[in-house]
Point group: C2
Amino acid sequence: MSTSSRSSPMATAQIDTLKLISKEYHDFNGSHYDILHRSSTPLGFSRLVHISRPVLFKSCVVPDATSRWTNEYLVNSMGERSISIAVTPNGRADAITCGKDGRLYFAEPHVESMTMRTFLDKLSAEPKFCKTSAGDSEVYYLQSQNGNLFAARYFDLSGEPDPSVFEPLRRDVPSEISWCTEALGRSPEAVNLWIGNSRSVTSMHSDPYENIYSVVRGAKHFTLLPPTEAWCVKERTYPHARFQRSQATSQLELVPSPPRAPSIRWSSVQDPTSPGALPPEAHPIHITVRAGETLYLPAGWWHYVRQSELTIAINYWYDMESRGMSWVWHNFLRGSGDPPSGNQDDR
Amino acid sequence: MSTSSRSSPMATAQIDTLKLISKEYHDFNGSHYDILHRSSTPLGFSRLVHISRPVLFKSCVVPDATSRWTNEYLVNSMGERSISIAVTPNGRADAITCGKDGRLYFAEPHVESMTMRTFLDKLSAEPKFCKTSAGDSEVYYLQSQNGNLFAARYFDLSGEPDPSVFEPLRRDVPSEISWCTEALGRSPEAVNLWIGNSRSVTSMHSDPYENIYSVVRGAKHFTLLPPTEAWCVKERTYPHARFQRSQATSQLELVPSPPRAPSIRWSSVQDPTSPGALPPEAHPIHITVRAGETLYLPAGWWHYVRQSELTIAINYWYDMESRGMSWVWHNFLRGSGDPPSGNQDDR
C-alpha cells in the first residue's frame, strides 16, 4: 500500500503542499461567511463570485409564490403527472455504499415513477426502522438534478421546447435569478426542484457550478469545505452500481455495473459531521438554510447536505467562469491524476 | 549548488508542479487578451477582474484633457516646482545591477530634484553613448510610484490634505476611474504619473494591485507573463544598493546598503525579450499601449516595460481583493520561502 501511495500523484510531497495551501487559505479567510439581509445586485454578486465564499441571504430570493407550496397545493397542481423519485434503502443516493460482496460502490438510486400525492404520502409517513415488508423503510427523494424545473434548453434561442413534468409549478418559480444571470453574463445551466426528508442525505461532493440554493419549506443543513480542503475529503475511485428492485423479493438490491463502466471518483468521507471523519486540519463550515433563505454556494466548494424535516428547495446552477484560473486551481487542489481505489484489495 | 536547490522550497518536485499548472493554465487560456473599443462598466470590469486576464482598451479611459500635455504645457503648468527624478547610469531603476565588486545588487535609483523644464530637456536631449563628461549618458525617469498624483490619503475621509507637487496637473487627471472604483468597491491606493524615454526600462516584477495603465503620449511596450509563470522569472534574493553621486567625480556609483538591510526578492531575468532569457515553457504576451489607450493589467501579472520615445503615462493602482483565494494562489505560484541568492558564491 505504501508503494501505491508513493506512486499516486497524491504522494506525500503533494499532500504537504496542499496542506500548506489550505492552512494559508484558512489563515486569510477563517470560517467566516457573510449573512446578507437583502438580495444582491449584479455588481454585488459579481464581487461575491470573485471572492468565492459562501453567503447566506436571509431575504427571499425566490419570490413568495412558493410560500403557498403546501402538500395540498403541490398535489392539486401536479395531479396525475408521473414524477421520477430516487429510492434507496438507506437514504444515500449517489453515495458510497457497501455491496453484498463487501466491496464499496458508488451507488446510484433506483428511480420510480409516482404521483406527487403518492410521493408526499411516503415522505410524510412515519419511518419504520425495521423492515417489516418490502419497501417500508425505503427512502424517497425528489433529486433528479437534470434541470427538472428549467433546463439549459429553456434559455437558448433555438426555439426548441423545454418541457417539464413540473410545468404546473413553473408559474411559482422564476426561471432565473436576474442579478445572478446579469452578474455572470449567462442563464442558468439547470434549475432543480428538491423534495426530501430527514432520511435523505447528499454525500460530500463539489460541483463546477455557482449554486444558488433557496429553501422553500423545512431546512437544509450544509457542511461545507473550501476548495482548498479538497485533500480532506479523501477522494477515491469506486466501481459503479445501481439499486434495482428484485423481481423475486421486491427488495432493493445493489447491482454492480459491468466492469467496463467507468469508475467514479468520489469522497470516501461518508459523514463529515461524524467525529474523526475529517482530518484535524479541516475547517468545516456549518450553515442551516431555512425556509425563505438562500445560500450562495460558490463553485468548487465541497458540500454535504441533510434535512431535518420535509424540505423543499429550488437551486440554480450557473456554469462557473471557465476563463482565468478557477478551473486550473480547482483541478490542482483535487490532485492530479486518478486517486487510488476506495477498495483496499484493488490497490 | 545541487544541495542548495534540493533544500530550497523551489525544489525539483515543486518546480514540476508549477510547470504543470502553468501548462494547464496556458492550455485553457492561451495567450489571448481582449481588445475593447469602449471603456467598461462597473459590472463589466468586475467580471474582467474575476477572469484576471489583460485587456487593452482602445478608447480613452483618462479624459481628453491630457491630450494637451505638450512639453510646453507641462513646463508652463509646473513652473519652478521641484520634482523628484530617478537617475541611473543604465536606465534600470529598481533592477538587478552588477556592482564594482562583481556582485549583483537590487539597485534603487539616485533621486534628483529639478524643474519640469530641466527634466524634459534632459529627456529630449540626444543621448550620448560614450561618457564624455559626468551625467551625459545618465538616464532620467519620473517614476516616483508613491501616488505622486493622488495618494490613498486623498480619498480617505480623515480630511487630511494630500498635497502633490503635481497639483497643477491634477485638473487634467481624474482622481479615480469611476467604473473601477465602483467595481472594486474601493478608491485607488495610488495614482502615478510616469514620464520617461526609450532609455528607461522597468524590470520584470509583479504587483499586488489591479493596475489601470493609461498612455498619454508615446507608447509603452509591455512584456507580460501570467501569475502561473512566476517560476519562469526565476526570482532570487539580492543585496540592496542605491546609486549615489560621488562628490569626487560627480559620477553615479552603486553603493551597497549596510548588510543589515533586508535583501530583496527579484526576478533574475534581466530582459525577457532577449532570446533564451525565459524558459521555453514561458508564454510571454507582448502588448503595445499607445497614446489614448489603456491597459488593464491584473494583479499578480509579471510585467517588463519599455518605451520607444518620450512617453507619458498615468496609472491607477487598486488594492487587489484580499478575501478568497487570490493571495494564497499568488503566494503559492511564487514558491514558498525565500528563493536562493542571486549571487552564486553566496549559496
